[in-house]
Structure formats: C-alpha cells, structure tokens
Amino acid sequence: MAEIHPLSLAIFIAITLLTLAISIYAGRRVRTAGHYYVAGGGVRWFVNGFAIAGDYLSAASFLGITGLVAFAGYDGFIYAIGFLAGWIVALFLIAEPLRAIGKFTFADALTSKFKSRKIRLAAAISTLVVSVFYLIPQMVGSGSIVGPLIGLDYEIGVVVIGLLVVFIVATAGMVSTTWVQFIKGFMLLIAVIALTVGVLVAAGMGPFEFIGNIISSNITLPSGATVPGETFMAPGMKYKDPLDFVSLAMALILGTAALPHILIRYFTVPKPADARKSTVIAIIVMGIFYLLILFLGLGAIYFFNQGITGALNPADANLTAPLLAQYIGGDVFYAVISSIAFATILGTVSGLIMASAGAIAHDIYAEVLGHKSSEKRSLLISKGTAIGVGLIAIVLGILSKGQNVAFLVGLAFAIAASANLPALMCTLFWKRTTENGLIYGILAGLISSIVLIVISPTMMGPDALFSLNNPGIVSIPLGFAVTMGVSMMGEGSAANSKTEQRRAEPEE
C-alpha cells in the first residue's frame, strides 16, 4: 500500500471543504424540481461554458490521454482530436434547437413532439445505460489513482468520492453541480497551461522545436523497446486495425452531442443563443486543453528518454500527468495536480448522477408511471433518487475493482451515437419522424451497440464473432436506418393513430 502524502491529502481536503461549502450555500434556496434539475434555467453562458468543459473533461481525458500520448505517441493525440471534434455537432446542429425544446432531461426533448410514454421510457433507459457505462470507469479511476496519489485504499477512495458526489447532488442538484464543474474546468485549464509551460521551459525549446526534436530522435518506450521518433509520431502505435479506428472516430464525433449528462447542461441557460455561446466557450477551453495535452504526454516521454525515469511510471500510464508535475514543480505541484485530478472526477460524476437521477425520478417515476406529486415532494423524490444512484455507483465502483473498464467510455459514446443521436436529430430536423420510428430507433441503436460489444474481441478474445472493438461503424447507421425506416413505413398505414396525431399538428 502506498504511503500517505500529507500535502496531497491537505489540498484534497481543502478542495473537498470548498465543494461542501458551495453545495450548502447553494442548497439553501433550491425549492423546486426546476431548480434542482436545471438550476432554475438561470446559469449564465460563460459559467455554463466552463461547466460544460468541466462536465466533459473526465479523468479519462486528463490522466488517460496524457498517458496515452506518452505511451503510444500520435495515436493518443488522435484521441484528443476526436474528443474535441464532437463539439462541432453540438455547436452547429444541436445546441440552439435543443435549448428551444428541452426542459429537464434528454427524454423531455424527445417527447416535445409526441407526448409519448414509450418514447420517454426508451429515452430514459438509454440515458441510464449510457450514464452508468460512463460512470463505472470514473469510479474505478477514482479508486485506483487515490492510492498512489494520496495514499488511501481503493475502497476508501471510491467511498469518499462517491459520498462527496452524493452530498453535492443531494443538496442543490444542478446548482452545486454547476459550480463544482465550473471550478474544475477552470482549474484543469490552468493546470495544463502550467504543465505545458513547465515542460517547454525544462526542455529549453519552443513548442514546434520540441515536437520536431521528438520526431527526429529515437524514442525508448516505457516498455523498454526503442522506436524511431517518426514512427512514434505517426498513427499505428496503438490502433492496428484501421477499420476499428474509423469506427471509434465515428463514435467520438457523433456520440459527444448525444451524451445525456452533457445535453442537460444546455437546459440550464435561459435562451438558445446562450446555449450556443456556452458551447463556444467550452470549445475554446477544451480546444486549448486537448492541444496542450500533447505537450504533457510528449514531455513525460521526453524526460524519460533524458534519463529521468521518474517522469512516468511504466506500470501505470494514468499516473503520467502527476509524475510529470512532480518532476517539473516538485511535491507541491504534484499535490496540486493530483487534487485537480480528483476535482475532475467529482465534476464529471456529479453530472452523470444528475442525468441518471433525472431519468429515474423525472422520466420514469413521475412521467411514465404517472406519479405526479407536489413540488416539494417531487423535489424530495429527486434528491432521494440521486442519493440512491450515488450509492449504487459506489457499489459498482467497488465491485469493478481491478477490471479493465476503460473500454466502457468508448462504448458509452457508441451507444449515445447509435441510440440517442438518431432520435434527437430526427426529432429536431425531420418532419416525417413518427412515434414508432423514435422508439424502435432508440432500441435498435441501444441493443445493437451492446450486443456488438458483447461479441467483440474485448469481451470474447481473439475468437470474437465481431472483429471490431468499437461497434459505432455498424450500430450508428443502423440507428438512423431504423428510426427513418420505421417512420416511413408507419406513414403508409392510415389507421395509425400516431400518424394522425402528427397530421393534426399545424402544417406551415
């Protein structure tokens, strides 16, 4: 077991107390479900922009990609580009129209056209599946970095993070979640800028010169093998199968704008234009982040090759960023970066729990099952659900100890792109969409992407029935095809009451 790092622990406790104070302060005035789920719709776009970045940039982005670049060079960088590219879909197609039709949850947006319980149920299930698959890696991540960074056991790490998040979401829901994500987004930006400057100063080179230097020298990998820099800085170190990579790239660009915990952030601003402006702020923050993360990863491998073996840990790529910080700025910087990594997990997990609680308490319990109750009571139910989801997350985190769950994030993106995006796009832009089209489309995307993952090499080994690790290239087109196909078939039968309902809408 790793020893306790007093400084990291102290900064971690300080961040924890700050978070609790914000939650308590914000929680005093939350009275209705509207305040709970979407912070009363009164978040300013600038704050929301940073909060979106804070929601989206998970530990996988900060710790994961830094490690990936250090260990696999260019392929790690391609990951960063893909994570950013998805925001273009959000900016140009989704943000403004979605704000115009949404209320609390992703399912609210889909049922704006048809008041259908079935659509709502399908959307709520898909929200839960995507959020849980995204949540498990976050919990596992929090447990496994807590040991080396602060010196606490895996289980304690999961429980502490879990309880903290439960407290954040149970006190003031989206109000406190917004502030945690805002602060985290801001700290993360400062952290990568400071680390990048540190890398370049310590290396004594300009940014382009630094990359050129890596390309022109031989690189000793953490595994001990040596490759020429030009191989390290070209695709193919990690992704051997081009088709698998194309599939992943598709899931990343199309999945981002369909992740429920991201979409709910758009309901917190007052106007569609604010949704656009906050996306722009988020893209600026994340663009800088994903660009500079290249220098963090390359910095670690560069110093490793200079003979500073402490700049990364060959056994654990996730510790690259903190170890790099330790080399550059000593123990204080190490403690600060470690604590920011924790804040990162807090922000993302809070968003995920909000999305899940909304799907259960608002969509399934109140709307689908029809348990309408007073504001006060439904607020209580929402909070209770959030606590329940948080506790389940803790249990899942502890059960998944030692499992390789990193692929679940990729799966979450693929499911979101296959199940949620077709439904969302058709609701917004295709007038001939029918109720059945949406229901079957969501189910087809959801089921096909999960089945393809179950029979993929990740799960079944080399004898897998399906040769790709990421199902996106098959399941995303399938989701669109089913949504549109069923809609067009349904139109043929005049007896279809749903079609009549659609026709009853005023034509322009």
């Binding site: 302060y25 005093r28 005035r29 939350v30 209705t32 509207g34 305040h35 789920y37 979407v38 912070a39 009363g40 719709g41 009164g42 978040v43 260019y74 960088f77 391609i78 580009i81 950013l84 590219a85 925001w87 273009i88 900016l91 140009f92 197609l93 403004e96 129209p97 115009a100 039709i101 209320k103 704006s112 056209k113 109000v175 917004t178 502030w179 805002f182 382009f208 010169e209 990359i211 390309i215 030009e230 800085m233 070209a234 695709p235 992704y239 081009p242 088709l243 990579f245 194309v246 007052p270 234009a273 656009r276 402006k277 722009v280 893209i283 663009g287 660009l291 917004l428 832009f429 809408e505």
Partner: protein, 238 residues
C-alpha cells in the same frame, strides 16, 4: 394610445401580474408596454442562481416572451422595452417616458431572510411613482392558472421554436460549416488509418500528421469563435 406598463422578470408573481395586465389592457383598449430591466449590480453567478430560486422563477420562462404571446392571443398590441439599471428606478422612468396610465406589477411576498436580502421593488415603485400602481399579490389559484397558461404556450411552441431557429440564415451557414468540418475530419481520420506513410512526411520541422492535427484543433476553435461572432452580429441586427 393609452398604455399600461408591465415590468416583468419571469418570476411567478410577474406571470400572474402579466395575466392581469393583459386583461386590463384588453378592457381598456390600451397598449401593453412590456418592460424588462436587467440589473447592473455586479452579481456573481451564484447570487443570481440563489435569487432565481428564491423568486421561484420558472426554469424555462422568458417573462417578455410570455407576455408577448399572451397579449397576442388576446389581440392586445405590445411594445417591448429592455433597460439596464436599478429595477425600481427604471420602472418609474419608463412609466414617465411612455406616459403610462397604470403600472401593473407582481410582488413576491417574500418572507424572512429572502425579504431582507432582496427587498421589495413593488414597495419602492408605489412609494415613488407619480403613476397609479396596481400591485398583484398572487393567490395560490392565480399562480396555478398563470403557470398552466405557461404550459399551453410552451406546449404549442417546440416545433415552432425549432423552426424559427433552423430557418435562419445563420443556422444554414452553420450546417455548411459543419459539413465542411466533417469532410476535413473524415479526410484526416481516413488518411491516418489508410495512408499512414503520408502522415510521416516532413512538414514545418514536424510531420504532416502532427501539423494537420494541430491545424484541426485550431480550426475547431476558430470556427467556433467565428461562427459565434457572426451569429451574435446577426442577432443584434434583428
């Protein structure tokens, strides 16, 4: 033309006042002057949130839009004024400038700390205005009624609201930019998957792959900023 001034902030009492003001304007054949005052007082976001929740501001509601739609339904002509400054002061000033015969406003009947913290706009306006003021203290029933109308307005709007956005030139340009970006991204991914040697060619002291990756990230940021600048300008113009 006679007019009635309706200051609104989208809070529940303001919505009830809106219902009353539209009723009165219809009876009197008066125009409804809808005023929204944006406070200049530097407020950190968390204060704004706390205030929103203390005033029970419905999550989706733009008070001005609500008043406009309600007035349109009742065929009452409207004029929208948006001011910046202290709320009570701007209400009184607007009433004088517009020559309003009546000011209708809601009061939130705050209790305890909230009252101390937020004060009462209605009290100040009644005290200092030379125009007659009708202060609405909403009953539970009236609140329910006003909110149900909000639901009607909203239930009718989603499809329309999306169309208003997707029909703009700005949105069309966004779609073109999106298509251009997707082509660039696809070219990048396909080249990186199937033409790996091309990415190794030297360029600007680095290689083609790294340069195009950096350019793609910078292009994403540039597109976002450029589009926002254009959209903001278009919105201001309309």
């Amino acid at each position: 033309m006679k007019n009635i001034l309706l200051p609104t902030d989208g809070s529940t009492p303001a919505l009830v006042a809106t219902v009353k003001a539209v009723e009165m304007a219809k009876q009197r054949g008066a125009m409804l002057v809808i005023l929204r005052v944006e406070e200049q007082a530097p407020m950190v976001g968390i204060e704004r949130l706390a205030e929103s929740s203390a005033l029970m501001r419905p999550e989706f509601q733009d008070g001005v839009q609500y008043a406009q739609e309600l007035a349109a339904e009742n065929k009452v002509p409207t004029k929208v004024i948006i001011r910046e400054g202290s709320v009570a002061g701007e209400i009184i000033r607007t009433a004088n400038e517009e020559g309003s015969e009546l000011i209708v406003l809601g009061t939130s009947s705050l209790r305890g700390l909230n009252r101390l913290y937020l004060g009462s706009v209605a009290k100040t306006v009644v005290g200092q205005s030379s125009t007659s003021v009708v202060v609405i203290k909403p009953s539970a029933e009236e609140i329910k009624n006003a909110l149900s109308m909000v639901k009607e307005v909203i239930a009718e709007t989603p499809a329309k609201a999306v169309r208003t956005i997707t029909r703009t030139k700005q949105f069309r340009i966004g779609v073109y930019l999106f298509a251009a970006y997707v082509i660039g991204y696809a070219a990048f991914i396909l080249a990186g998957s199937y033409a790996k040697d091309m990415f190794k060619a030297a360029m600007l002291g680095m290689n083609v792959g790294t340069v195009s990756g950096i350019v793609l990230i910078l292009a994403t940021i540039g597109l976002a900023i450029g589009f926002n600048w254009y959209a903001g300008r278009t919105e201001e113009a309309s």
